[in-house]
Symmetry: C2
Subunit: 408 residues, 2 copies
């Protein structure tokens, strides 16, 4: 078994170690929940302050032009594009993941007018399923069908307009084969929509190279954009010339917003997927975190992610009552480790009391996210040791850990 000293040596040789200084983390905490809400970058408070006090407070309405507020959805989109393998003009930052999924799913149905089925992953984060229900509920004859994500092929008949899948499963951490699935879906005449919420910033994402038609994602997990930070959407360049594809046809996506014309005409390009004025405070925080991400080598991030998850798995796989749910194969693993334990809820609470923050997903999964920019091998070693101690001591049986609360 690897020792703590050996982990310290790995940290000393870690090419990403210096990024730890770019994040603020409270003392005494090992934060393994960056897959749910990423940590605060050191530079974010100052950027948010400047937008509040200077751009808003001092320059007021003039900032729409002078501070580039109109351009912010595109500017941030161009900066996220390389993180998901998209062209700069294929990505825009706006709204939320759910709202953006509504837009692209409607667009997909419009691009496949003779087809009426949307396939989704029955085990996906449910908002994707609920939104698919919402969209198909508005389109006569359309239906939403839930399938096993590993086997969408059996359902790919001539009725399928689009398939929506999570690139990484939010519970198990399993990574899907984006290019392979995309190719099979498209070969069946359907369009492929990826939800990259749990992969952007965590694993390599190659939307354009995979041939993806659409994608949506959030920025508050591995991208450290802050609670409720704005989401993004990707539309393959080949779909950007089509007519009005999406029904959230707000003013901000109009070809000539300041002409205040009564009829809607979409902007050229990705701007037609915009709806409303951007949330400038949320976008300011995201801007600061992208400053950090632009300095990070993505291959190094992936290598360290795999090293940390390998390390954690090796340290906990033989613990009593623990089953490792996350795939062992590197090409099937995201950047989190899910462990099944019959008493997962109180075990996670006991870990949190020790300062090791992971989370729990019903009925029995403990989730631990590994964020390569601010987590060390030593911390992973310490977290595994805390878990071993919690299980061996039985301290999780303490009554204060038994109450069920909400954990996001």
């Amino acid at each position: 078994m690897i020792t703590r000293e050996e982990c310290a040596a790995l940290d000393a040789a870690d090419p990403l170690a210096a990024f730890r200084e770019d994040f603020t983390l409270p003392p005494g905490v090992i934060y393994l929940d960056g897959n749910s809400l990423g940590a605060l970058p050191v530079r974010t408070p100052e950027r948010v302050r400047a937008v509040v006090e200077e751009e808003w407070g001092r320059e007021l309405i003039r900032s729409w032009n002078d501070a580039g507020w109109f351009e912010q959805p595109y500017r941030l989109g161009r900066r996220i594009a390389p993180l998901v393998g998209a062209a700069p003009e294929e990505l825009v930052v706006c709204d939320t993941t759910s709202v953006n999924l509504f837009k692209v799913l409607t667009a997909a149905l419009r691009l496949r007018p003779g087809r009426s089925t949307v396939l989704g992953d029955g085990a996906a984060f449910p908002t994707d399923l609920y939104i698919a229900e919402g969209v198909t509920g508005m389109v006569p004859g359309a239906r939403s069908l839930l399938v096993d994500p590993a086997e969408p092929d059996a359902h790919l008949d001539g009725e399928v307009a689009a398939v929506v899948l999570s690139h990484v499963d939010y519970r198990t951490g399993e990574l899907l084969d984006m290019p392979g699935i995309t190719a099979r879906v498209q070969a069946a005449g359907a369009l492929m929509i990826w939800d990259v919420c749990h992969s952007v910033g965590a694993v390599p994402v190659e939307l354009t190279a995979s041939g993806a038609d659409f994608a949506v994602g959030c920025t508050y997990k591995y991208l450290n954009g802050g609670p409720g930070s704005p989401a993004f959407l990707y539309v393959a360049e080949r779909h950007l010339a089509a007519g009005p594809l999406q029904p959230l046809s707000g003013w901000f996506g109009h070809a000539r917003p300041f002409a205040f014309e009564p009829g809607y005409e979409p902007k050229a390009g990705i701007g037609r997927f915009l709806t409303s004025s951007p949330s400038l405070l949320g976008q300011a925080a995201l801007e600061a975190s992208l400053d950090v991400w632009e300095r990070a080598d993505r291959a190094a991030v992936r290598a360290k992610s795999l090293a940390l998850t390998d390390l954690f798995i090796s340290l906990v796989e033989d613990l009593d009552g623990i089953e490792v749910v996350t795939p062992r194969e590197h090409d099937r693993r995201g950047s989190q480790v899910a462990l099944r334990h019959a008493d997962g809820y109180p075990v996670v609470q006991a870990l949190i009391a020790r300062g090791v923050i992971g989370d729990f997903r019903a009925p029995d999964l403990m989730r631990f996210g590994f964020t390569p920019l601010y987590l060390s091998h030593t911390e992973v070693w310490d977290a595994a040791r805390h878990l071993a101690e919690v299980l061996e001591s039985g301290e999780w049986k303490d009554e204060r850990f038994s109450r069920r609360g909400e954990v996001t």
Copy 2:
């Protein structure tokens, strides 16, 4: 003509004068664009800082429960409710005005299944029209029809499912008769949706007493929530028991979000109109501004708004080339004054160069917003004098004022 000294005396007797200290405004600026982007409250930067550095940075994921992030859309909704005459359980803060209009408009069509026409005001802020186009474009047989807001009655046939109107016209500042129009629309069997973006915080709004079915509004104008701050929506209590009314059926509106069930079932009550996790930074800023609003007497706000707009109109109505577009009758006036001038664009630019910030709306309207909490009679007098000087001197003809830019 009233003198500047008389205005100073009015300021000395102004019961709202002390509120000026609650806002940060740059020196040398008379800000008459609070109808577009409200000024920064003094306490907002600290509240935003605390959410960023403490709730996010220090408490991390725990803030979802410990800082009440889950409850924030409802808590803010309950605080805005009295400002629009709604019951606390009828209002929620979320998304943007356009997205919320999409939700309530779809709900209205579902509540009137035999009807398929949506009436809108052809002169409304266009996002309302574009969204109506987006919704009706998804509902077979539905259509969006633009009418004169003063005369919707002629179009109220048995086909009309819903009418969407702005309480205050964003260009002219005209205030519509909310209870009267609502009653006539409902007498014809249709549902009434009000857009209160330009009236909340500016004029008395009585949604429940008027019998309104739905309403949407933004918080970045008179409510001072900051650029791109979250919007709100109102649903009359009688419509909250109906089935899944709105199609943006995201996870946050599910009856049991943490059960992660594959099928959507809406929350009881107004929560069913939620879609996604809230934007916490934007909501933090709004929270701070509502602290100010809760101390303001609404009758005093309305009285001062009318006094300021009366004053401005009396000072500018006889200027050369100026036509007052805003109604003179108090019960038909919002909290802005619109002046028509053939060269409105350069005149507004010349005023901005003097520190008097208003805005321009094509083809020839100059808009001036009067915010009773942070504007004095003296400032209004000074603004009117600047306008007189700009017109008399002809300085607006300077070439630097002629470039057309975007002004929101």
